[in-house]
């Protein structure tokens, strides 16, 4: 905008007072982070719909197993711990990225990835156990909505893990170039966002589900 007004003043040969554009507007230096944030917000709406579905159907057991009977809180507590620790280790990776210490950053990213993989592993074990005892997603409305909500979150974490590995390969090949730093910040937002969604999942689905 300022370029345009400068051209106009140059063409007219007039003084700077011709610059009638508001100059105090904020321009996002690079729209990537803001755009990614807006993506996260739209993702938030997907989860809101799934939470609403679970809120409506979560107690419709259809004569099948209830939440208190099939959900095991110790596993969920361990899963929550893994995800929370993976959040803080990603935070450490971001701090090392800022300090341009690539080796340490890669170490923290690897730890984050392992914690995330542990989370997915436990969740898949839980799902396999539920399906094996006949409490699969087709059993009741409660289990359908449970598998959809928790599964969608797990799918997001899996995508985050693939992204994490991809970024680690990219950083090892190209180093901490600005583009890679930007990507790492996007994944940081994604990863912390998934932890935030998990807070809703363990509170709304697991803790409130097992209460009588």
């Amino acid at each position: 905008m300022s370029d345009m007004s400068t051209t106009m003043t140059a063409d007219n040969g007039a003084s700077q007072t011709l610059d009638f554009h508001a100059s105090g507007d904020y321009h996002a230096p690079n729209g990537t982070l803001l755009g990614f944030w807006i993506y996260l917000m739209s993702d938030c709406l997907i989860f809101a719909c799934l939470f609403a579905t679970f809120g409506v159907l979560g107690r419709e057991y259809a004569g099948g197993p209830t939440a208190a009977q099939v959900l095991e809180l110790p596993i969920v507590a361990l899963n929550t711990t893994l995800l929370l620790f993976s959040s803080i280790t990603y935070g450490f990776a971001v701090l090392e990225m800022r300090a341009n210490r690539q080796g340490l950053m890669m170490m923290w990213l690897a730890i984050t990835g392992l914690l995330g993989a542990g989370f997915i592993g436990l969740e898949l074990t839980e799902f396999a156990h539920l399906i094996s005892i006949g409490a699969g997603p087709q059993r009741s409305a409660f289990l359908s909505s449970f598998f959809t909500l928790v599964g969608t979150h797990g799918l997001h974490v899996t995508c985050g893990l693939i992204w994490l590995v991809t970024l680690m390969v990219q950083v090892s090949k190209k180093g901490l170039i600005p583009a890679n730093k930007r990507r790492l910040m996007c994944l940081s937002m994604f990863w912390h966002f998934l932890d935030l969604i998990w807070v809703g999942v363990f509170s709304f689905v697991y803790l409130m589900g097992v209460l009588p």
Binding site: G24, A28, W37, M41, A48, L95, A179, L196, S203, M208
Partner: protein, 133 residues
């Protein structure tokens, strides 16, 4: 151009790949540790209360769990996602507030309406009859 370009008056920074807003986000070890500590406490309390069987009945328990989850989400927002009214010139906050409005409408609306539908339209069964006062 060598100065930090998070100033709103600098119109040239969009051409500068070195300063693309990534460095503008303020991250500190103290911030991450505070967030982690608060999140750990806010996770531990509801898990402990539910797993120890302190809650005999839902109702107030649900409200407490939801309240703690709400606080923890705010903690995550501030310390992990680095949300503030200043980030990205307020556009982050605008998008977030809009999302919160939609989420609240979706959740409360669905649960409210479906609860009443259930109340009014469930077929009459012996189960219902037994629960009648």
């Amino acid at each position: 151009m060598s100065a930090p370009t998070d100033s709103p008056h600098d119109h040239h920074d969009e051409h500068d790949t070195e300063h693309d807003g990534v460095e503008a986000i303020h991250v500190t070890l103290k911030g991450y540790m505070t967030g982690f500590g608060l999140a750990a406490i806010l996770t531990f309390i509801p898990f402990f209360l539910v797993m120890s069987g302190a809650f005999a009945k839902s109702g107030p328990a649900d409200a407490l769990i939801l309240l703690l989850a709400g606080i923890q989400i705010v903690v995550h927002m501030i310390y992990f996602l680095h949300m503030s009214t200043k980030s990205e010139g307020g556009w982050n906050m605008l998008a977030f507030v809009f999302t919160v409005v939609l989420v609240v409408i979706t959740l409360s609306g669905s649960i409210w309406i479906m609860y009443h539908l259930n109340d009014n339209m469930m077929p009459w069964t012996m189960q219902n009859a037994r629960n009648e006062p």
